[in-house]
Amino acid sequence: MRVTQSMLTNNMLSNMSKSYEQMGKYQEQLSTGKKISRPSDDPVVAMKGMNYRSQLTEIEQFQRNIGEVHNWMNNSDAALDKTTKALQRLRELAVQASNDTYETGQRENIAEEVKQLKAHLKDLANTKVNNKYIFNGTNTSEPPVTVNVGDGSLSKNFNQEFVNMEVSAGTKLNVNVDGNKVFGKDLFANVDQFIDNLSSGEGLEESIAAIDRNINDVVNTRADLGARMNRVELVEDRLSSQEVMANRILSDNEDAELEKVITKLKTQESVHRAALSVGARIIQPTLMDFLR
């Protein structure tokens, strides 16, 4: 084949531009840290990347939801703990009062404390976290127990809907405690009865038994809550390992391996230098340089 100077020049130029293109690609990979910069660089990587990103967002969101779940459960547990303590104090007082050596005056003093405890229990039933009544089902904006203005008696209206939160795709967890089970049925009636019994001095044994039943209710409810808290921890563990995995897959999928890219860049650089120096040698001399 007949080869002319301009063919060599053109060839060299096109080779140089290809070489620059390669180096540009490596430079882009190094500066972005990504293997690809647009979907067409590798459609599969791009589609997977979109998918993994959504997964990661989902995991992060479920973790955020679990924070909220913890908020509900821990606060419910703490409130129930206080309820137990209050009930235990009531039982103590009942046992004390049932002692025949106690006189009417002393029992009235006890009744005063019981009234305070009743108010405390009412407050516990109306526990508010984050501006939400946590023992009133989904009706979080209204207190379940209200004091009637006239006679100071209590009215109860417990919403028994589950408060559900999604903790992983499709898995909804019931995060609240049914206030009715603890405070609803007969707790306040029992306390009122106890106060009555204190003034009469009769039936204190029954009150002890009644309070025991209430304590039992709380313990059962807490056991159920505890089991659910346990499950949340399991889900939480799974989410955090999923998060690590999703991040790794995302990174494996689209992050550039620096050592690989740098090595390739270095290789390309030396090829480029060689091309330059060869070009410099070939382009220069023509027959004109040797004829006179």
Binding site: R2, Q5, S40, A46, M50, Q61, R64, E68, T138, E166
Partner: protein
């Protein structure tokens, strides 16, 4: 015997011939860097010998040669390589246009990234999850509204940007059609000039070069077929004649060498307006207009489905990007993506709205009447076409956060219930597009994936056709390119021949001197 001065004539002719070869060499060197130039060569021919074979020829032994003359000056070129080059050039034009169109689309879609549609949807979903855990919280509601607006605006942005680029393509189509018409006219003009020169027995090499260069340019724009028409019987055997150029798929030639005419190309768009003035629709046909009559109704055209018949080239690439009508339906890279976006937006908005409608808003539970509110979260998609561009958060939601329906309509709905928010979060998992239930993510990933594969293919074929084009160009250069080394050697060759001819002249001169001045002096 020949005449006395025959030798002088022979030497003179040789000097002339070598001189013309030297001039041609000079011309070659001068044009070493002229694009489209093919090197020229002088075809030396022996002149007729003496005596010619005839009845009253002198009785001398054998025929004596009478020297040389510059017969023709011909360009060194291989038309087979031209055809090959143009074939590759037209493909390169087509694929590079498509690759560019798809690359722009990829830039707009911007996936995978932290700010594409996919991410916006993820964030919207997040806000709904947050709402489900805090349904009464106005902050959570306001975030849902904002993220919903972001989803609508992202659709708007994608749709608007794609349409913007699409409009650019329309301008490019018009410019390309003008280019084609202008090149056709120039080729026709050169045809005319060639027609004036060739019958005189000349080879207008520089006109040939110029014309071939124009044809090369044209081949990038449309797929063409070139054939030649002889200008006259008196033209040389190796004269190239006039070019007739046909666009592949067209029923009429673009340049007609036989009738000395050309056609202008006019792109006809479907019009939306009844008056036919609003011609923003897809390309419906390419009309070939006679520049004299200016009447495209008279001339035939590429119409309807036969746009597909257009072989390749930049114009086809542009039309495929912009959109054209084939068999009654609009096709094209940009229209397709816009349609997909519309379907996706409408499918999502519809399923989201219906879930939203089934829920209860705070206002509904509080018994507050809001005439502005019809239960929709996003504006309704009465018509899918153009929905992505017009999608917005419904005014009821825009004006009042309490219209967001977070609670499901169930047994004991309460203000703090967030069951419907969870359902809304699941809305994108099952949306209906073209009667099929699919998920937003997988449909969208499919769209992006298809675009990516198409773009990858276009880029690869762009590279391939570019490489092939270059290698043909190299072979063409190998035949037609000027080599300075070669020209220098030729200069030496011709110079030596010229010198030798001059020496020959001197020799004859001395010989004659002997005859004229040195002979016939016997006895003096």
């Amino acid at each position: 015997m020949g005449s006395t001065f025959n030798g002088l004539e022979v030497a003179k002719r040789a000097m002339y011939a070598q001189q013309s070869a030297l001039y041609t060499t000079g011309h070659n060197i001068s044009n070493a860097n002229t694009p489209g130039y093919s090197r020229q060569r002088v075809n030396f021919e022996q002149t007729a010998p003496y005596p010619p074979a005839s009845r009253n020829r002198p009785e001398i032994p054998g025929q004596v040669g009478s020297g040389v003359e510059a017969g023709t000056i011909e360009r060194v070129r291989e038309s087979f390589l031209d055809a090959q080059y143009r074939g590759e050039n037209t493909k390169a034009g087509y694929w590079s246009t498509k690759a560019e169109a798809l690359q722009k689309m990829e830039e707009i879609m911007n996936e995978p990234s932290e700010n594409g549609l996919s991410k916006t949807m993820d964030q919207f979903w997040q806000s709904l999850q947050d709402l489900s855990t805090n349904p009464k919280d106005e902050g959570a509601r306001s975030v849902v509204r904002q993220r919903g607006t972001a989803v609508a605006e992202t659709f708007n942005y994608l749709s608007d940007s794609l349409q913007g680029i699409q409009t650019d393509f329309k301008n490019q189509i018009d410019i390309t059609a003008k280019d084609i018409s202008s090149i056709a006219k120039q080729i026709k003009d050169i045809n005319d000039q060639i027609g004036d020169v060739e019958p005189h027995g000349y080879l207008p090499n520089d006109l040939y070069d110029k014309r071939d260069q124009l044809v090369d340019e044209l081949s990038e724009l449309v797929d063409i077929k070139v054939s030649t028409v002889e200008t006259s019987d008196s033209s040389l055997e190796i004269a190239e004649g006039k070019y007739t150029i046909e666009i592949i798929g067209a029923s009429e030639p673009l340049v007609d060498g036989k009738n000395n005419s050309y056609r202008e190309l006019d792109v006809v768009y479907a019009s939306d307006g009844a008056d036919g003035e609003d011609a923003d629709g897809p390309v419906t046909k390419l009309a070939m207009i006679d520049p004299k009559s200016k009447d495209d109704a008279v001339t035939s055209s590429l119409s309807g489905a036969s746009l597909d018949a257009l072989g390749s080239g930049k114009l086809k690439g542009l039309m495929e990007s912009y959109g054209y009508k084939a068999e009654g339906a609009e096709q094209g890279i940009y229209p397709d993506m816009l349609t997909e976006l519309d379907k996706l937006a409408a499918g999502f908005a519809d399923s989201f709205n219906s879930i939203h409608k089934s829920g209860l808003s705070l206002n509904e539970m509080n018994g507050v009447e809001d005439e502005d509110y019809d239960g929709n979260f996003f504006t309704k998609s009465a018509e899918t076409e153009g929905y992505a561009g017009s999608m917005a958060v419904a005014s009821g939601i825009k004006n009042d956060l309490f219209n967001i329906a977070a609670e499901a309509d169930g047994n004991d709905p309460t203000l703090g219930g967030g069951e419907n928010a969870i359902k809304l979060g699941e809305a994108s998992d099952s949306i209906v597009i073209d009667g099929k239930t699919t998920s937003f993510n997988s449909y969208y990933e499919g769209m992006i994936g298809e675009m990516a594969v198409e773009s990858q293919e276009a880029r690869r074929l762009e590279g391939n056709s570019e490489t092939l084009k270059q290698s043909v160009e190299e072979r063409r250069q190998s035949v037609s390119g000027v080599s300075l080394d070669e020209e220098m050697s030729n200069i030496i060759k011709y110079q030596h021949a010229y010198n030798a001819a001059a020496r020959n002249l001197t020799t004859i001169d001395e010989m004659l001197d002997k005859i004229i001045n040195g002979m016939g002096r016997v006895g003096r």
